[in-house]
């Protein structure tokens, strides 16, 4: 597979994952801030900005300002509309590699987010609808991808993009919350804290899964355990890292480049989550999560060195 093609598939997938994550976080928090005083709400939105891959240089004036910028504002590179536009642009460059069904799906999504530049009042009323159908569109794309594309090299680059992004954005979101919010290791939560922490679970689509695992008795320690270390929940960090590792192994096998740097980095991160215990990490959780964000970015650059932007001399020697 051409390196440029791998690059586009990888980023197409990362941008879609980013858009879905953003849509869910905005949706959950919009709901959540309705229950709070305006000054609390402003602090709340400010905190969400800290969890973005590149914290933007603006502060939200109000909830609707934040929502506008985070969803349809094309000037903001992290907005849902910008991410989906970038995903589509990447898909267009590899039109011959993806299935027609995938191309149609990503276009449907693109037209959906671009068609939503409406007046502020209407916009507020339709926000929930817009966000849930965006999430639905990205999930549809993932389903169509799995059902119509050969699970070969290209598909593994798509997987890799999705899970590198998920690892990084989930870790960043958790890190900010565990750093900025007061929390007590194993106490029962008061009402306002309860709302706050359930919001975090919902932002990772994890509240129902959490309840099935631990019952609705919400404790911060369990949240950390579930979202970081659970290996069966698809939006936990452990699960995502396992998928990264297995896609990297499949890619290494196909290209005959086993034991590359990306493989080793992912293996090390996976081992720390495979064998890690919540008691060991809970004390230094923000630092641990920062470490995960850093390692996800190292894996990203190692993939580039190995498959995409390698020096030509090394290619000719091989």
């Amino acid at each position: 597979m051409l390196s440029r093609v791998a690059d586009s598939l990888y980023w197409m997938s990362r941008y879609l994952e980013r858009a879905e994550h953003m849509a869910r976080v905005v949706n959950v928090n919009l709901n959540l801030t309705l229950d709070r005083a305006p000054q609390d709400a402003a602090r709340h939105w400010g905190r969400l900005l800290l969890a973005l891959p590149e914290p933007p240089p603006w502060a939200p004036r109000s909830a609707s300002d934040f929502v506008e910028r985070a969803t349809v504002d094309l000037a903001n590179r992290e907005s849902i509309a910008a991410c989906i536009g970038a995903a589509r642009e990447n898909a267009r460059q590899v039109r011959e590699e993806i299935s027609t069904e995938m191309w149609e799906e990503v276009n449907r999504l693109f037209l959906h987010v671009r068609g939503n530049r409406v007046s502020e009042r209407e916009w507020t009323a339709g926000t929930h609808e817009f966000l849930t159908s965006t999430i639905g569109g990205v999930q549809m794309f993932q389903g169509v991808t799995d059902a119509t594309m050969t699970h070969g090299e290209g598909w593994h680059f798509i997987e890799l993009g999705r899970y590198v992004e998920r690892t990084s954005s989930t870790a960043a979101l958790l890190e900010v919350q565990f750093r900025e919010c007061a929390w007590d290791d194993d106490q029962e939560l008061g009402v306002s804290e309860y709302v706050e922490w359930v919001g975090l679970l919902k932002s990772c689509c994890a509240f129902e899964a959490y309840c099935r695992h631990y019952t609705a008795d919400v404790r911060t320690r369990r949240i950390a355990e579930f979202l970081v270390l659970n290996d069966q929940f698809p939006r936990s960090i452990h699960f995502a890292v396992r998928c990264i590792k297995s896609s990297l192994a499949a890619l290494a096998e196909r290209s005959g480049r086993a034991n590359g740097r990306a493989d080793r980095l992912a293996g090390r991160l996976k081992a720390s989550l495979d064998y890690g215990q919540v008691d060991e990490i809970i004390g230094e959780l923000p630092a641990f999560l920062q470490g995960i964000v850093r390692q996800a970015s190292q894996i990203n650059s190692a993939v580039y060195q190995q498959y995409i932007a390698y020096p030509i001399e090394s290619a000719l020697a091989g």
Partner: protein, 358 residues
């Protein structure tokens, strides 16, 4: 191209010849397209759409399929590979997503199952072309290039081109890679050469051309020039180096100012122009704004030359969508139609005449 050995002596492996139908029903060649003719994806896509929309039409006619074009094109390209490369790597070189024919490039790459590459995916080492893949470099044997001559190698041609591959021309000269169509084929489809094509066929092949040319006056010739300048309001004048429906004067549809402008240009540089009679291009019924109306058309079949010459039974019928217009080029707002070639011996269903008085 002097001193370059071209495999099978095939310089043009993909040709698109524009045909028109004259009032007496016979076909004539309007022009040849021998550089990087485009539009074949529309031939295939139109057929797919018509099959979806009017499936019932196909059952009453025996329409010959065109879907195997991709396979034939791949076979043509494979025939051009250097002989010692048993399992050649074939790629389609595109200028990228901003090119107006990008849809066609991705379409053809998918139909053939080959890699669609851009200039930046390729590099040349020791006169061998490689592409950069996730498994390291991979040697490339045949390039179906959809990048114009001028842009294909910044070391040999335009140095400011970022669409090409530095060193590609040398690799080509060394015989390590096949390029198709070959570089410089534009000389053969130049409008100034067009008038001489029947003579070329007679001289080199000792055969009569099967399809005639359209009568053409060379404005470099004083008698022709005199004749044409007196009849600018009847004739079509074309600049030889232009294409896509640009640089044309259609006499009967022109204003006096336009004719004066062309007269001035012809006198200043007569060799740069040719003239032809204004053809009454044949028309086909089109569904426009809720009504069926006639629109002028021409036909471009695609001719593949590799080990043998292959023509897929179909072609691109281009339509001038503006009423009365004779300009069918898609860059001038033209459209296209599905084109059927029926199996020999098939009688179309009996025509049903409208009831009397209707």
């Amino acid at each position: 191209m002097q001193g370059v050995d071209v495999r099978h002596d095939v310089y043009v492996s993909v040709a698109g010849t524009d045909l028109v139908r004259l009032p007496d029903g016979s076909f004539a060649v309007l022009e040849d397209n021998l550089r990087v003719p485009s539009g074949v994806s529309y031939m295939l896509a139109n057929r797919q759409v018509i099959k979806r929309v009017f499936p019932m039409l196909f059952s009453s006619y025996d329409v010959r399929p065109v879907d195997h074009y991709g396979q034939e094109l791949l076979a043509t390209l494979r025939a051009l590979a250097p002989p010692h490369r048993a399992d050649p790597t074939i790629v389609l070189l595109t200028p990228g997503v901003f090119n107006s024919a990008y849809f066609e490039h991705t379409f053809l790459a998918r139909q053939m199952g080959i890699d669609l590459v851009e200039g930046r995916d390729l590099f040349v080492h020791d006169n061998v072309v490689y592409m950069r893949t996730t498994a390291g470099s991979k040697r490339v044997d045949v390039i179906y290039r959809r990048v114009d001559d001028d842009f294909i190698d910044p070391l040999a041609f335009r140095p400011d081109s970022t669409l090409g591959v530095p060193g590609l021309f040398n690799a080509y000269r060394a015989g390590n890679v096949a390029l198709t169509n070959a570089i410089g084929t534009g000389v053969a489809d130049d409008k100034a050469l067009y008038a001489y094509v029947p003579a070329l066929i007679k001289y080199y092949l000792a055969e009569e051309p099967i399809l005639p040319n359209v009568e053409t006056w060379q404005l470099g010739n004083p008698t022709d020039r005199q004749f044409v300048l007196e009849r600018l309001d009847e004739l079509v004048v074309k600049a030889v180096g232009e294409s896509g429906g640009y640089g044309m004067l259609i006499g009967p549809h022109s204003t006096a100012t336009e004719r004066e402008e062309f007269r001035r240009r012809i006198v200043a540089d007569p060799r740069n122009y040719i003239a032809q009679p204004t053809l009454a291009l044949s028309a086909a019924p089109c569904f426009v704004d809720g009504r069926v109306e006639p629109r002028h058309v021409d036909l471009r079949p695609y001719i593949l030359s590799g080990d043998e010459v292959v023509i897929v039974p179909g072609g691109l019928t281009r339509v001038a969508l503006r009423k009365g217009s004779l300009v069918v080029n898609s860059s001038q707002g033209g459209g296209s139609k599905d084109t059927w070639v029926l199996s020999p011996g098939v009688r179309p269903p009996t025509r049903v005449d409208p009831p009397a008085g209707a």
